[in-house]
């Protein structure tokens, strides 16, 4: 069964994740599942620098470390369960029938990879638990998750606003062509105002791309506003968003290798940082 899966943690965006996931699940008529991953964090170990080993040191140490982990894990488990219950209650209040919840141990990326086969849309917050004080920081797991998974990912900010107008950043790539077709066929955005922007020079090729996108979407019954802009991709998209009160952006993510990203930076990372609206990332 293909789920809308929402990653819940203790961060500020958890409520928004919950709301957006409920919204998506209802529109797509897909079951909603909340996921809480209990990461194996590196807790500080009490320093014992005595450096000696005596009778049964190994067994004793194993017992001691296991007990410590046990206590912490129990707390984390309980806390996670409370968060999941709260999220479920919120989703039920928003009208979702029978939201499911899952709790798993491990790394977020690995866990999502395992669950990928029954994943239709992933909803995840922009920042994790530790990122709140860091301003424009984006969560440490986010890029890995986006690069690893081959499913659409909705990255949400901390506030929920029901999407009315969506913006599709179209670059003519194969990924985004598929993306446009997906938007056209998916019930998720049906009857929302749809803007398509191509950033590029005023050339025949760009116009052709724009026209293709417009016809595809119009055939699917969308009301489309298409425009061709020139300039820096990030600035154009941010500007357009403000001018037209866009409240969701659809775009391809991390089209380039990590090496290129290291050298010239990534549009995706930039937009993730600046954006105050949810981004639907397609790979």
């Amino acid at each position: 069964m293909a789920n809308v899966m929402a990653c819940i943690d203790g961060s500020r965006s958890a409520l928004a994740v919950c709301d957006y996931a409920a919204w998506a699940s209802q529109r797509m008529d897909a079951p909603l599942a909340f996921l809480h991953v209990l990461g194996k964090s590196d807790y500080p170990v009490p320093a014992d620098l005595s450096g000696n080993i005596g009778l049964g040191s190994r067994e004793h140490l194993l017992q001691e470390l296991a007990e410590l982990d046990e206590k912490r894990s129990r707390l984390a488990l309980e806390q996670g369960r409370l968060m999941l219950d709260a999220a479920k209650a919120r989703a039920v209040a928003a009208g979702v029938e029978h939201p499911a919840s899952r709790q798993r141990h491990g790394e977020l990326v690995d866990t999502l990879q395992e669950l990928e086969s029954d994943l239709r849309l992933l909803v995840i917050g922009r920042q994790g638990e530790q990122g709140e004080s860091l301003g424009e920081h984006i969560g440490s797991h986010l890029e890995n998750v986006v690069r690893t998974l081959h499913r659409p990912i909705l990255v949400v900010p901390t506030e929920y606003r029901e999407p009315q107008r969506i913006l599709i950043a179209f670059d003519g790539s194969a990924t985004m062509r598929k993306g446009i077709e997906m938007v056209a066929s998916s019930p998720l955005f049906r009857s929302l105002a749809c803007h398509v922007v191509v950033v590029g020079a005023d050339k025949a090729e760009s116009h052709a791309q724009l026209d293709w996108a417009r016809t595809t979407l119009e055939q699917a019954g969308f009301e489309v506003t298409a425009s061709l802009r020139s300039g820096q991709v990030e600035e154009v998209l941010c500007g357009y968003r403000e001018d037209h009160a866009i409240d969701l952006i659809v775009m391809g993510a991390y089209g380039h290798s990590r090496i290129r990203e290291f050298l010239v930076g990534s549009t995706t990372t930039h937009l993730l940082r600046k954006s105050t609206v949810p981004l639907l990332l397609l790979r």
Partner: protein, 492 residues
């Protein structure tokens, strides 16, 4: 990529640096002591410990495991050093590394699954006994001062942590005993008497041995023992650290990494080494969790030795003996003694046999070999008992049905044959093996034997219900269902 580097190196910086320092301080006495066991200058063991720790920090398969010169390896080198000298030891160290890399590529690490818990316990206990025995020469024919100092040293090691746990107690022992010996001007043996200490950073050295077949013939037996023992101890230690830290390790990478480390060690004039159970436990106990702790241990070790060399030379051997006795006590599995009462006799025998063989031969590989062999025999014997044959005579007394249930293989084949009553005169015998497993050619030939024996008594035999597992092996080897084969068998 960046993430895994951070996870493997910099996720626990404070804990790792401190733990690395504690381990480095404990590594110095050990490296010196093991050099003494092997019969080489302390600098050979110290360079080896530095090099192996640093290299395995990068290429090893188990973060936070400490590898260096070890007792298990040192006892294997004794005769080589005595008969052929240091240069051959260096050559053997290089060859050990090459063999270990080969074993890593052949994925021999997975063979560890045949080493049972009892054998591991036996190995650990034998290692502890070897370390203790190696201290005995320092404790015989000496003045009472040495005994007093050793006892005092042990007292400090175990009692000082009650005062504070922020200073390594073995370090306190060494400092106090060295100070005492110098103050009282005691005439006892010191590290300086044991041979040359490192005075420079290590330099590249190619072993000065003739590169011919004769050299290979000399070093190969030692290298193969070293390679096997090194990997055994490393993989066992890796498992222990896996359990302690609740993380996993890459065993085959560890095999290859240790090979690389040994080659590097041989090239800078160091002896072969492997992972150390005691030091690795100390590392985890002190808070070390990542590769950084291993690297820190190696680097600190060299810095301390090179710059404090003059002071290291003044450490009395009694202080080292105290530290080594601590390592021996900490390595020994004391619960295994209590478990002797509760564990099955067979597993206790395996454990004790492993210990006895190691202590007798000073070669941990032989001990593990005997232990694994015994464990396999006990297992075969146990499984062989899961078998019985029921039989029923038909009402007219002219045919009998045997129903075989359980495992038939080399260990149970004879008893399988003995279940059948060949003296009974019946027309027809049905052997129902649908609930039995025939594992090997011994069991198949046992079934053949039964069938042929009945036939020669004039009885018609029918075997029914050979299940899939048995059918394959019976089809491949058996003779009774091929008419011409029966004649062949009779001709013998």
């Amino acid at each position: 990529m960046m993430n895994s580097i951070r996870q493997n190196w910099f996720s626990n910086i404070r804990g790792d640096l401190l733990a690395g320092l504690v381990v480095a301080l404990a590594l110095i006495p050990e490296a010196i002591a093991f050099s003494v066991i092997a019969g080489v200058d302390p600098k050979v063991g110290l360079y080896a410990s530095f090099c192996i720790a640093v290299v395995t920090a990068f290429v090893g398969g188990r973060p936070a495991m400490i590898s260096a010169a070890t007792a298990a390896m040192a006892v294997l080198m004794v005769t080589l050093v005595k008969e052929h000298g240091l240069q051959y030891l260096l050559a053997a160290t290089l060859l050990t590394g090459v063999l270990q890399i080969g074993m890593g590529y052949l994925r021999l690490g997975s063979l560890m699954r045949f080493v049972s818990r009892s054998v591991v316990t036996g190995f650990v206990n034998a290692l502890a006994i070897l370390i203790f025995m190696a201290q005995l020469p320092e404790l015989t024919n000496v003045t009472w001062h040495v005994y007093a100092m050793t006892a005092g040293g042990l007292a400090i090691i175990y009692l000082f942590p009650y005062v504070t746990r922020s200073i390594p107690s073995p370090l306190v022992t060494i400092v106090v005993l060295t100070g005492l010996a110098m103050l009282l001007n005691l005439d006892i043996r010191t590290v300086g008497d044991m041979g040359e200490l490192p005075d420079t950073l290590p330099i590249f050295l190619w072993p000065e041995v003739p590169l011919d077949f004769e050299t290979l013939a000399i070093i190969f037996p030692y290298s193969i023992s070293l390679a096997v023992v090194g990997l055994l101890e490393s993989l066992m230690t890796a498992t222990i650290i896996d359990d302690l830290t609740d993380t996993s390790s890459d065993k085959n990478r560890e095999c290859k990494g240790q090979g690389v480390a040994n080659i590097a060690s041989g090239m800078i004039g160091g002896m072969a080494g492997c992972a150390m159970i005691g030091q690795s436990v100390i590392n985890v106990k002190s808070g070390g969790r990542t590769r950084l702790s291993t690297l820190t241990a190696g680097v600190f070790l060299l810095i301390l030795v090179v710059f404090l060399g003059d002071w290291v030379a003044k450490i009395p051997m009694a202080a080292l003996v105290a530290v080594m006795i601590m390592v021996s006590i900490g390595t020994f599995s004391w619960t295994s003694l209590a478990n002797l009462k509760t564990h099955p006799l067979s597993s206790s025998i395996v454990m004790i046999a492993t210990v006895v063989v190691v202590v007798a031969t000073h070669n941990l590989a032989f001990g593990v070999f005997v232990g694994v062999l015994l464990a396999a025999l006990f297992f075969a014997n146990k499984v062989a008992q899961y078998k019985y044959v029921a039989s029923a005579l038909s009402e007219d007394g002219r045919s009998r049905t045997y129903t075989v249930v359980g495992q038939v293989f080399f260990a149970s084949a004879d008893r399988f044959v003995a279940y059948f009553d060949f003296r009974e005169a019946v027309d027809q015998v049905t052997i129902d093996v649908s609930q039995a497993h025939f594992w090997d050619i011994t069991s198949v030939s046992a079934l053949d034997k039964v069938v042929l024996k009945f036939r020669r008594e004039g009885t018609t035999v029918e075997v029914i219900g050979l299940n899939e597992a048995s059918a394959t092996i019976v089809d491949r080897f058996a003779v009774h269902d091929k008419p011409e084969a029966v004649d062949n068998l009779m001709g013998h």
